[in-house]
């Protein structure tokens, strides 16, 4: 297969396993490109991409922007805090105004789940979902799987535990879909209050004891506690959370194997993981960041190749 089965990247649940493999193979080539002395290719010189961020972001926005520039696309940046959205403009109006400036692709982060799907039905452009509320964050899940594949050779058959705030996490949902599609076993681990009610319907193992979870897994993906999405208290205190669900060096050393530690960032050092774990050899957190650029280049390149002239 040399073409994606979709015209937009709205979520992992719309992808097939072959799509993921094609994205990974393409990302392999781009990873080589971004390690060259000159890290740029001219493929997308006639493509314009708008990055619409209706929600704060640092690394995802930088990563997308860098990926677009490495592919020689023209880039427009937009953030809602400085825009007419504050004056009451609707999403479709905002986007159509931007598209009338001849934009071919939209990368969007939005606080509402389903914003990307909604937009893809109403505007003529390729849509890449850079995170929609607590729904999906597909490029993060792709780069997480890609990093596992790079570190352990394959994703199929691996045991991955996702630890922390599953309830508010789009990273968790996209990761569960992506890992299952590739044949990995998935477990979620966290306080019961931060596990969604429908978790059983996703076909994942559920564990509330971190030590048991870590002893089971090959890879632990540590999620951030998303205080900004919490309207009520889900656990008594940050200190208690970190004692129950935080990974320390002592805990890692007490396991009878070396597991891989991942984190989508930004890290709350001392809460989900301690500094010595984040900076240890078992951590691939910075590899994830580098792979993020290659994965986003692959996604944008493959979607752009489906935009007809």
């Amino acid at each position: 297969m040399s073409e994606l089965s979709v015209n937009h990247l709205l979520g992992i649940k719309y992808l097939k396993e072959q799509d993921i493999q094609l994205i990974f193979e393409t990302a392999d080539h781009f990873k080589e490109v971004i390690n060259r002395p000159i890290k740029k290719v001219p493929s997308l010189r006639d493509i314009t991409i708008a990055n619409l961020f209706f929600e704060n972001s640092t690394r995802t926005k930088l990563s997308f922007e860098l990926a677009e520039k490495r592919l020689s696309a023209d880039v427009l940046n937009f953030s809602s805090s400085q825009s007419s959205v504050k004056k009451g403009e609707t999403l479709i109006d905002t986007v159509n105004n931007i598209l009338s400036m001849k934009v071919d692709m939209v990368v969007m982060r939005h606080p509402n789940p389903g914003a990307g799907v909604f937009l893809s039905k109403h505007v003529k452009a390729s849509i890449v979902n850079a995170g929609d509320g607590a729904h999906e964050h597909p490029t993060q899940a792709l780069l997480d799987s890609y990093s596992i594949r790079e570190k352990l050779g394959d994703v199929a058959g691996k045991k991955v535990v996702i630890v922390g705030d599953i309830l508010h996490s789009r990273v968790a949902l996209s990761n569960i879909f992506a890992l299952q599609l590739q044949g990995a076993e998935v477990m979620v681990c966290g306080p019961k209050t931060l596990l969604p009610k429908y978790i059983d319907s996703l076909g994942v193992k559920v564990e509330t004891n971190l030590v048991k979870a870590l002893n089971w897994c090959d890879v632990a993906n540590m999620l951030r506690v998303q205080n900004e999405r919490m309207d009520i208290s889900y656990f008594p205190s940050t200190r208690e959370y970190s004692q129950q669900f935080g990974v320390t060096k002592e805990l890692l050393d007490s396991l009878n194997k070396d597991i891989v530690i991942m984190h989508p960032g930004p890290i709350n050092r001392g809460v989900e993981i301690t500094s010595d774990v984040a900076d240890s050899k078992q951590s691939i957190i910075l590899d994830q960041v580098q792979n993020g650029v290659a994965i986003r280049m692959a996604v944008i390149y493959l979607l752009a190749s489906k935009i007809k002239q």
């Binding site: 080539h29 490109v33 060259r36 740029k40 290719v41 007809k308 002239q309």
Partner: protein, 179 residues
């Protein structure tokens, strides 16, 4: 579809040795020269030439790389089929080096145009030359000519030149295929 043999295994072998000798004539011990096979089909020719230089002419330190030009092509989004990338393996910097591009068939010259851009990602070469096994005359879209050519052929546009390699296609041969 009919096909005609342009070169058989013996002729291919003679030509490869001649091309290797022509390279030695110009580049001596290859101390400042790098060979770059263009993906996908130029790689077989480049590997073969490098092997002859190493084994038959005892030249050590042949630097050989493979360059993929997919992301530098000028027909992205213009064809029916999506472009498929291949691996680039260049473990050296080409700054101030004499670069020899190696490809099996020179047709419109557009691949070479893309390769000229792509190689700049690895530094500024001192000079770039082109070696090709088959030079299709009268079919160029760009002002590009080979420095070393195996065989020049006159082929009309609805005909295709297919180069086969033992390691990939079970025999060394060149066919002219009428579509």
């Amino acid at each position: 579809m009919s096909q005609k043999v342009l070169l058989n295994a013996k002729e291919v072998n003679i030509i490869l040795h001649r091309l290797a000798c022509q390279l030695i004539e110009k580049h001596n011990d290859f101390s400042n020269t790098v060979l770059i096979g263009l993906q996908p089909r130029g790689v077989f020719l480049a590997n073969r030439i490098a092997k002859i230089l190493r084994e038959d002419y005892k030249i050590k330190n042949i630097q050989l790389g493979h360059l993929d030009i997919t992301f530098f092509r000028d027909d992205f989004r213009r064809g029916e089929k999506p472009l498929e990338a291949n691996t680039t393996t260049i473990n050296f910097i080409v700054e101030d080096k004499n670069v020899v591009f190696i490809d099996d068939v020179l047709y419109t010259g557009r691949s070479i145009r893309a390769a000229l851009t792509a190689i700049q990602s690895f530094g500024r070469p001192n000079e770039i030359e082109l070696l090709t096994l088959i030079d299709r005359r009268f079919s160029r879209h760009l002002p590009i000519q080979p420095n070393y050519r195996g065989r020049q052929v006159d082929v009309i546009n609805n005909e295709k030149v297919k180069v086969n390699w033992k390691e990939h296609d079970n025999e060394d041969s060149v066919y002219l295929i009428e579509k």
